[in-house]
Amino acid sequence: MKTDYMLRKAAGDWWLVNTAQDGEHYQKPQRVNHSAAEIIERIMDGESVEEIAAEVSGRYAVPKETVMRDISELMKQLGME
């Protein structure tokens, strides 16, 4: 998936940075937790939301639809839709 975003690790945190911004209207990087960073990284690597949701729902015994909704919500919050 081609994206304007970059996931960076610094000072013990994960930072999602919109590297395509022009600098005039500054968009602060989002600090995200480890689980969110893992999902974002997989999306950036080209995995589909459905694939990720299936794996995460199996790992944590959560309905797949719930995970899909959470991932969509996360992407919306981060402006990554």
């Binding site: 970059m6 960076r8 610094a10 000072a11 930072w15």
Partner: protein
């Protein structure tokens, strides 16, 4: 000046070395370290973020928390400076102005984690004097306010509404008290124009000086601060990390020739010696040999510690003399006069009046601004100058 490094200074150096060499094996906390003093020292030198990944796990939690908070703040500030740099460099380039980012984002490219490079200001270099007025105009037209009081001659200071200082440099350094060196530096500006290259960082490209000239600019930056109030560990880290990169032999030769021509080989060797000894810079990365007397080396290192970030800690440290004779004092005084009165000082009959005004300002500023005395300033300068001879500044 203390005759030995403190436990805190030694421990900071060993952690910095781990950080720069990416040594993943965590040290145990040194029980002899006073953690409050340690924090103050790390803060003063603005290297807290570099310590974050190498801090001993058994150190007090409240100290770890402070370091983590500071590291996080440095990262946040870095991103702000990164995109602000992108914006203003973009504006200048759109206007066809050839510029290079110096220090800041440019220096951070050599860091294993660029976000750990603390930046306070944004520094942009426009080496072509003819393009400089237009560059000032571009910055003024794009949200920056020109400071009404300009105290430096090698750069123009602007302010961003968020309180960030943007310095537009016409030269890499303020004029020094060596006419030949100043002449050579002015001539070099033409070469800088021809030696702007690009680096890629976080999916963005920035103009910077080509490696030998970038190294030269880092050295001049240290020299600039060294000649005035001193510099701290952060600039030393910039130096060590720059040379840890793969630098082509031809670039290294060009750099060595530049410093030789300007009479800065001794200074370059001292800085490099400290980086080799304390920060893990490999032998031969810059100079073939850097043999220095133990005493001078120690004083130089201690001076760095006592300077802090740009020597703001001790108000009596304002200038550096190149010797301790009456002539050295007078030379520095005369140089200060010329810096303060660049135009009037060209008319030599005015010199007695300008000396008197300079002396008056010196005494007044010591008392009112620096809250110190002329005697303290002289004492501090003399102490630093005792070992300066070994630097062989401007000796060609």
């Amino acid at each position: 000046m203390e005759k030995s490094l403190t436990r805190e200074e030694e421990f900071i150096l060993s952690l910095l070395k781990d950080s720069l060499t990416q040594n993943k094996r965590r040290k145990d906390a040194d029980p002899g370290v006073n953690w409050n003093s340690f924090l103050i020292l790390a803060e003063k030198h603005e290297i807290m973020s570099l310590l974050y990944d190498v801090m001993p796990v058994d150190m007090p939690k409240e100290i770890l928390d402070v370091i983590r908070l500071r590291a996080r703040q440095t990262v946040q500030k870095y991103y702000r400076m990164f995109f602000l740099t992108k914006y203003y460099v973009g504006k200048l380039r759109q206007a066809g102005i050839r510029c290079a980012v110096i220090k800041g984002v440019g220096a951070s490219a050599a860091y294993p984690i660029p976000e750990y490079r603390k930046s306070g200001d944004l520094d942009i270099f426009v080496p072509d004097e003819k393009e400089f007025p237009r560059a000032e105009e571009v910055l003024s037209n794009n949200g920056l306010f020109r400071d009404p009081i300009q105290t430096e001659h090698h750069c123009v200071v602007f302010h961003h509404p968020e309180g960030i200082v943007v310095e537009l440099h016409r030269a890499l350094i303020e004029e020094v008290d060596d006419e030949e060196a100043n002449r050579k530096l002015r001539e070099l500006n033409a070469r800088f124009v021809e030696n702007i290259t690009e680096i890629e960082l976080l999916n963005n490209r920035f103009p910077v000086l080509a490696p030998p000239y970038q190294a030269f600019s880092l050295l001049l930056h240290m020299l600039h601060h060294y000649l005035h109030a001193g510099f701290g560990l952060r600039l030393l880290v910039d130096w060590a990390l720059f040379w840890k990169q793969k630098i082509a032999k031809a670039d290294r030769r060009t750099y060595l020739k530049l410093v030789k021509d300007l009479g800065l080989t001794g200074f370059s060797e001292f800085v490099t010696a400290v980086c080799m000894q304390e920060l893990g810079l490999p032998d031969g990365a810059v100079h073939e040999s850097v043999a220095k007397s133990k005493e001078a080396y120690f004083f130089f290192l201690k001076d760095i510690f006592e300077s802090g970030e740009f020597g703001d800690e001790d108000d009596s440290r304002m200038v550096l003399l190149r010797g301790t004779s009456v002539f050295d004092y007078f030379r520095e005084f005369h140089h200060q006069m010329k810096l303060h009165f660049p135009r009037a000082s060209k008319v030599f009959v005015c010199w007695p009046v300008l000396w008197a005004v300079t002396l008056f300002r010196f005494l007044k500023n010591n008392h009112e601004v620096r809250n110190t005395t002329a005697i303290e300033v002289f004492k501090s300068s003399r102490e630093r100058s005792l070992y300066t001879k070994e630097l062989e500044l401007f000796r060609r």
